[in-house]
């Protein structure tokens, strides 16, 4: 049976990680993510796991890759400046297909910015921050419950698709206290890392499978393979053969693209009869949810698409929405990073407008409603 507990977001992320089987954490302190490290420094040793405080975020990212190759589900947590430092080895994890979870509790940037204030300015950095045209998965929690549940999902996706998963939280949810339901371990759907079944001679750690991945052998268990950030063949040895590199790219994109049904998570509220819709994610989705409730009381047919998976972007669902409503309002704590995706998909079908802010304040339901009513006035 699930138990109800009062937790704050960062705590729910830490507990979600433990529940998901995370047994290695490496990190460097930074507001507003630090509580995750503090809690895990206590909890991981209790469950036989490893916590290590590294010298910086470059090293933290490197250490979780090393630990993941050593067979442990691994994670790190950071915020803006640290996330920037992680980009180099984040790319390494993408390219060498090493599962890991990177939690970024976003704060206002650029640079040191507003360390204690919530923001959602790293959406595009999560997508394109490391160099090269790579696939990525990014999830964003819109409640404390999401902090727990989506953290578990993040580890599952990382292991299942052998990829880093970016967990884009923000200070709105990370510091929020809520009563959440914590499932018993028997109720949780946890993806255990599969072991290779073939002989070490036949094992291809980086098989160019279409739509899937090879099981990742744990270092020290008899499968001696090579891991590199260079373009490599299926055994992991560096190659400059463009035919092989092309096959690799196909594999890399297809392992995500062919599994969108599994990866794309979102919640819909009152969209069936909606004439105008909100697309929101992260902490801002709480205000959006509230705005829908108020609008409905006023007889406005407003609905909400709350994105939990941000990358890959739920293109089909959003495109469909642009066909069914007159207007989409995208509130976010940046100047339109998700809105630009929605605009691209709408291609003029529905009007797309933003409610934007990056001054450290949150977006209120009233501000969202003001934009909604302004748009209603505009529509004939």
């Amino acid at each position: 049976m699930a138990e109800f507990e009062v937790m704050y977001g960062n705590q729910a992320i830490a507990e979600g990680a433990i529940a998901a089987g995370c047994r290695f954490y490496a990190g460097y302190p930074i507001t507003p993510s630090t509580e995750i490290a503090e809690i895990l420094s206590d909890r991981l040793p209790e469950v036989g796991g490893v916590f290590v405080q590294m010298e910086d975020e470059i090293a933290s990212m490197a250490a979780i890759i090393g630990a993941s190759l050593g067979g442990l589900k691994s994670a790190t947590a950071t915020s803006g400046p640290g996330f920037s430092l992680m980009q180099e080895n984040l790319g390494y994890a993408v390219g060498s297909e090493v599962p890991c979870v990177v939690i970024n509790v976003q704060r206002v940037g650029p640079s040191t910015g507003l360390p204690t204030k919530a923001a959602q300015g790293d959406v595009m950095q999560a997508r394109w921050g490391t160099h090269g045209d790579h696939p990525i998965i990014a999830l964003s929690p819109g409640s404390v419950q999401d902090c727990f549940d989506l953290t578990v999902k993040a580890f599952n996706f990382a292991e299942k698709y052998r990829t880093p998963v970016i967990f884009l939280a923000d200070a709105l949810v990370s510091a929020l206290q809520e009563k959440i339901s914590v499932p018993h371990s028997s109720e949780l759907d946890i993806y255990a890392r599969p072991k290779p079944t073939e002989s070490p001679e036949d094992y291809k750690a980086f098989a160019f499978t279409k739509g899937g991945v090879a099981p990742l052998a744990t270092f020290g268990e008899g499968y001696r393979y090579h891991v590199t950030g260079l373009s490599h063949d299926e055994k992991g040895y560096p190659t400059e053969d463009s035919a092989l590199v092309a096959q690799w790219w196909e594999h890399m994109h297809s392992k995500i693209e062919d599994n969108l049904d599994d990866i794309l998570l979102y919640e819909e509220k009152q969209l069936d009869d909606a004439e105008i819709a909100l697309i929101a994610y992260g902490g801002t989705s709480m205000a959006a949810d509230h705005a829908v409730a108020i609008a409905r009381q006023q007889g406005i047919k407003l609905g909400l698409l709350k994105l939990q998976t941000i990358w890959p972007f739920p293109e089909k669902r959003v495109k469909k929405l642009t066909e069914n409503v007159n207007c989409i309002v995208v509130p976010e704590l940046n100047f339109g990073q998700v809105r630009s995706e929605v605009e691209r998909l709408s291609a003029g079908q529905a009007a797309v407008v933003g409610v934007n802010k990056a001054d450290g304040n949150q977006i209120t339901p009233a501000e969202i409603l003001a934009e909604v009513t302004a748009q209603l006035r505009n529509t004939p």
């Binding site: 290695f24 040793p45 590294m54 090293a59 050593g70 442990l72 390494y92 270092f219 001696r224 560096p238």
Partner: protein
Amino acid sequence: MTLQTSHILRDYMRPETLPTTWCAGCGLGIIMRSIVEAIHYQGLKKDDVAMVSGIGCTGRMSGYTDFNSIHTTHGRAPAFATGLKLARPDMQVITIMGDGDAMSIGGNHLISAMRRNMDITAIVVNNSIYGLTGGQSSPTTPMDSRTTTARHRTFERPMNLEVLARAGGAPFFARATVNHTASLTKLIERALNISGFALVEIISNCHVLYGKMNEQPVASGMIANMDKETMRSNPLLKKRASYPVRETATGKTYLRDSNSDAAQSSVAADTKDRGVIFENKGSVGFSRRYFSMLENIRAQKEHAGRPDD
């Protein structure tokens, strides 16, 4: 380069990755052989060894040897190795880095791994130059040298790894050159037995880049003159590096074929600390401390009768 080498080395290579990308005469081949021989003599199983390298000519070594291997990003090998060692404390984790890799871009990782006393056998190949990228100045380029980024000769002071190792708190530091393979192998063997961070600096030759630009274009000459020439303009290196290894080079333990029985027993009999610049005998590495902490926590829990989660 082609590898004309011991039977031991052959057993530890990945044939499909050969030939190496290294230039003929590069000291890296000698170093690879010494590392492999040290592992062999220590009776370590390939499955239990991880080789974690950075980026550079040196960094390529992890791909050629048949261990669990990670060719990481530039400078970051100690951080990758830290994660791996703590996930697999039973494994022997070796890092191999170039001088730019270890002392420039990876300086903080090296210092921090030393300070933490992480259980890593760290090998730094000091060839006085950035090899892979084509001969730019490195943190160990001797003063008054020519490089492709110092056409008018260098005036920055080279870094002394020994001083860094002392300050960082490494319990073991040794220095050797590729001119002294027998003692090199032995030093690595000793390093493999340290609990905690053991650092071995190996002075190597990059005759095609550093050598060509600094009047030492031939590998054999550069290696033979390693003590005199490579150190000439680097008094710090000369003072610390030349005496122990030169002694070995001219003494009875200088061996051409370390496979022969005579060589074996003579190496085994050599108990002098040649090349070992300092060693803290009581060192206890991070992983041993960490896992004994976990053991204590578990015992306390059992004592308190709490169920395990």
